[in-house]
Amino acid sequence: MNPPRSHKRLTLILVCGVIFMFGFCYMLVPLYQLICQKEGINGKAANYAVTAAPGMKVDTSRVIKITFSTTLHGGLKFKFIPLQHSFNIHPGEGKLVYFYAENQSGKEMTVQAVPSITPSDAARFLKKTECFCFTQQYFFKNEKADMPVYFFIDPAVSKDIKEVTLSYTMFDAGGFIKKQEHFTKGRIDL
């Protein structure tokens, strides 16, 4: 019979592997954010400010119909609508639109709008230089405001894309208030 091999060493290696995999699970979180942001998928790119590339030209040869839609999440007592529902724009053309929001909850609220763009192939070509969705928005009791989005569609977008829908879901962010400067530039308090 061979001298018994040490179980300790192998066990230790395997335990380290298990701990690594537990850590790996948490590593998936930033990894996921990073991949989505870099690849411009899952609306993540629509959450960050970009500036137009210097050489970008307006492609007047075609128009894309853009439609806005809004959703309130989980019975949030707000009024939240786009001031313009849809219009046609040329790729590369900058456009400023406003979303009207009114706090009807009877108390002060912090909300966060999360964008979503369909079709998904167009998502990474819809770019924003300003958006109320970049940060949380604070509303006093009964406060009303028009909130701006300044965006353009990158002319690199596929010719197959004829229509794009930009949809916002507004969440109650009361439980997750971030210590960050609120983006209020261009917000018109009514």
Partner: protein, 539 residues
């Protein structure tokens, strides 16, 4: 089973007074470090859970017998589907496979016991507590977990019932149990093989379990991390999966399926090992293409890590990702096909007899392959958009889990039961059990393919009138399948507790080869205290 083993030991005790036997009574099972006892515990636990969870399935099928409310309200229906799935996966298939591993791996590689026997005891005893906690939620005033076994966020986070926390901790416990068991198995196979038992002489069952153990070690921590994130989202104001706080519910599906897809191979690979033992025995031929079988098993496990997004085709995944995951998924069919063809080649020109283990193995071969084909259909992105979340999916995974994993476990029990207890099971009852199971199983799950194609969604307690006929066939089949398992229970209990003299020979089966068949039947409490030397591969 306890009396039979105790009996066998007493028998051996007369001849070997230097052995320490098992303790008497309940303490034996509580404190045991013997791999055979722990294997028995795992298998017994799994059998009990099988009937508990099977009863839940019958409640589900009863509710679906007719449109409208038959028996239970929709809330309870959701709890039943959730519990049925969780218990079948974590409480039946996985413990049964672990039980087979405990019983067989030391005997197959010529080791006296598992490498870490006390850890072994602990890894089993975590399970009853985990499942008591999970099932206790059905008795609580609020609802039990009701979000499906995949517990997608936000159903399980923002909208999860209070009992979700019990669910989270029970997942932690059963995960720990699986990790410890897998760790023990890896150390045993690496360090305790008898001299001459080289890697490429190991029986296929041992190889399959080695690969499975590595899969468990790799993905159970990911599941633990996933439910920990859920716990933090629910109670500690994080927002991993909550969009309001900057998280993403879709991330949950990625994390879950990164665990979930290798998990399905965890459920089936040990079964592949069992089939690779049984078919050569009853075909009286060497396993065809042993090396290819080993490499195919490893390949399935490796590819299993990079296909998880095929569970998420309709989540708005980019077209490139959909294409990649479609092709990668279809690639799994190659090593699986190698295995199926090798089993067929083993059968080719063999002297085949059809004892119960062989019947279940052949049933597996046919119906698992059918389940594999519907898997290929689901892997196709364009058609997946239609099949997604329909009864077609339910049919697919029941074909690979019931006539796949479960049939291999039943085959294994019939195959090794005479070795464990010393008593041949009742062949006639075994055959009846097989035919009723096959008929019941196909009656239950075959119509589900058509229901799914016709548009019946899964996880619904009610359905439009036109689906009634097929649903009634499903329900009748489910009751035939469910009640025929009582025959299985009777056969096992009879073999374990019969007072008759042991009638099984050491070899049990004419064509059986391998170290475990060199031991007397029933197997003595302690085996291979003198380490055997292996000179050639056991076919």
């Amino acid at each position: 089973m306890s009396e039979a083993i105790a009996h066998s030991h007493d028998h051996a005790h007369d001849h070997h007074d230097d052995h320490h036997g098992p303790e008497k009574g309940f303490k034996r099972w509580l404190f045991t470090t013997n791999h055979k006892d722990i294997g028995t515990l795992y298998l017994t636990f799994s059998l009990i859970m099988f009937f508990v969870s099977g009863a839940m399935a019958l409640i589900i099928r009863t509710e679906l017998f007719e449109p409208g409310k038959v028996l239970i309200n929709p809330e309870f229906f959701n709890q039943m589907t959730t519990m049925h799935g969780l218990i079948m996966v974590f409480g039946v298939i996985m413990p049964a496979m672990a039980g087979l591993a405990n019983w067989l791996i030391p005997m197959m590689i010529g080791a006296p016991d598992m490498a870490l026997p006390r850890l072994n005891n602990w890894s089993f005893w975590l399970l009853p507590f985990a499942f008591t906690m999970l099932m206790s939620t059905t008795l609580m005033s609020g609802p039990a977990p009701d979000f499906g076994w995949t517990f997608y966020a936000p159903l399980s986070t923002t909208y999860g019932p209070k009992s979700t926390d019990f669910f989270i901790f029970s997942i932690h416990m059963m995960g720990a149990s699986s990790i410890l068991a897998a760790l023990n198995i890896v150390v045993t196979i690496f360090n305790m093989r008898a001299p001459g038992m080289t890697w490429m002489r190991m029986p296929m069952f041992v190889w399959s379990w080695l690969v499975t153990a590595f899969l468990l070690l790799a993905v159970m921590p990911v599941l633990a991390g996933c439910v920990t994130m859920m716990l933090m989202d629910r109670h500690f104001h994080t927002s991993f999966f909550n969009a309001a706080g900057g998280g993403d519910p879709l991330l949950f599906q990625h994390v879950f399926w990164f665990f979930g897809h290798p998990e399905v191979y965890i459920l089936i690979l040990p079964g592949f090992g069992v089939i690779s033992e049984i078919i050569p025995t009853f075909a009286r031929k060497k396993l065809f293409g042993y090396h290819a079988m080993v490499y195919a098993t490893v390949l399935i496990a490796v590819v299993g890590f990079v296909v998880w997004m095929h569970h998420m085709f309709t989540t708005g995944a980019p077209i490139a990702a959909q294409l990649y995951f479609m092709y990668a998924t279809m690639l799994v069919a190659v090593p699986t096909g190698i295995k199926v063809f090798n089993w067929l080649a083993t059968l080719f020109k063999g002297s085949i007899t059809f004892e119960t283990p062989m019947l279940f193995a052949l049933g597996f071969l046919v119906m698992f392959t059918l389940g594999g084909f519907s898997g290929l259909m689901l892997a196709l992105v364009p058609s997946d958009y239609q099949y997604r979340d329909s009864y077609f999916v339910v049919a697919h995974f029941h074909y690979v889990l019931v006539s796949g994993s479960l049939f291999t476990i039943i085959a294994a029990v019939y195959y090794w039961l005479p070795k464990w207890t010393g008593h041949m099971y009742n062949e006639k009852l075994g055959q009846i059990h097989f035919w009723l199971s096959v008929i019941g199983m196909n009656l239950t799950f075959l119509p589900m393919h058509f229901l799914g194609l016709a548009g019946m969604p899964r996880r619904v307690p009610d359905y439009p009138l036109q689906f009634t006929d097929f649903n009634q066939i499903c329900t009748v089949g489910a009751f035939i399948f469910g009640f025929s398992q009582l025959i299985f229970l009777y056969v096992i209990l009879k073999s374990c507790f019969t007072k008759a003299k042991p009638n099984a020979t050491p070899e049990v089966w004419e064509g059986a080869h391998g170290l475990e068949w060199t031991l007397p039947s029933p197997v003595p409490y302690h085996t291979f205290e003198t380490i055997p030397v292996v000179h050639h591969q056991q076919p």
